[in-house]
Symmetry: C2
Subunit: 169 residues, 2 copies
DNA sequence: ACTGAAAATGTCATAGA
DNA sequence: TCTATGACATTTTCAGT
């Protein structure tokens, strides 16, 4: 299993946080991405290590920030927000100094699912999920367009949104 | 199994799938969105119902499709994909009949995190996470732009991506 | 819908490779 | 340092009420 050469000494002494992830770690991550509620011992069996070792690895992955959290994927339509849109926002040139503040403002708006701060002809893209077109119009008209830093917006309705989950490999 | 109280009969006989969500259900959903690994009995205590009842509600929410799954949030940078981008894709007018096929093609490409099928001047927006700019260039040049159905692409690098989690309310 | 018991699971301490 | 085994605490699950 382990070789007895002196080189092995060095490689195993390196802390895990500073190295790349093991194949085993990557496999654990894939399984947890597919199902965050998969039991620890089932994960251990799937990747071929002991449950306690697996538990320690998962804990290390969380504490090192590789795993940022575990979240339920809730259907927006089921909670009364069946209309999704992508709103592109362009800011005035002089307003680009305090982008963090504007980002926090966007995060507080109702229905905002995610925020992309991008290069190119637009500054922000925000993905929103709202009850209906009236709520979308209100959001853009009353909360975004009127903002003094906003130079312009461009709203696209989302017909379909797919979050791609990669299979184990 | 059957109770003899006529009043309780009516209120409990309504199937949960056809009604709107209870305030208790909504609270459970919020907690699970914040932390999918929160223990059932902790959720039950937080929302003020018995663990068995809470467990039944969570199972019903899953089976009715309100909860689509539980997923680990893994930092893309930690798995060697530190460069994120949003690629806008415009299709040829004649190619818009088989959008589902093209969507499946996109979903199979490496690094694709999510796909937005939108209205407006673009047809698709895809959020990708890749190792470096070379991988991004390869993806656009060799896998997207060359596709016969693609009329044009527009790539924006993502400086920051924030997934907004709404607090309990 | 609640309570309590049994089964399954998660967690931690200790020890070996 | 990584891994494995076993004891213990917690949680899930299912019975009855």
């Amino acid at each position: 299993m382990t070789n007895d050469s002196s080189a092995a000494e060095f490689s195993s002494a390196v802390p895990k946080e500073r190295r790349g992830l093991d194949p085993v770690d990557r496999r654990i991550l894939e399984l947890l991405q597919a199902d965050a509620r998969m039991p620890n011992n089932a994960i251990a069996a799937a990747v071929g290590i002991a449950p306690s070792t697996c538990h320690g690895r998962i804990r290390a992955l969380q504490e090192s920030g590789v795993v940022r959290g575990f979240h339920a994927d809730v259907d927006p339509a089921a909670t009364g927000r069946g209309l999704q849109a992508m709103i592109a926002i362009r800011l005035h040139a002089h307003a680009r100094s305090n982008l963090a503040t504007f980002k926090d403002y966007l995060a507080q708006l109702p229905g905002v699912e995610s925020i992309f701060f991008v290069t190119g002809d637009r500054d922000f893209l925000i993905h929103v999920a709202l009850s209906d077109s009236e709520a979308l119009r209100d959001l853009v008209a009353h909360n975004i367009s009127v903002h003094p830093e906003v130079a312009g917006t461009n709203t696209s309705v989302i017909f379909e949104y797919v979050s791609v989950r990669r299979p184990a490999g």
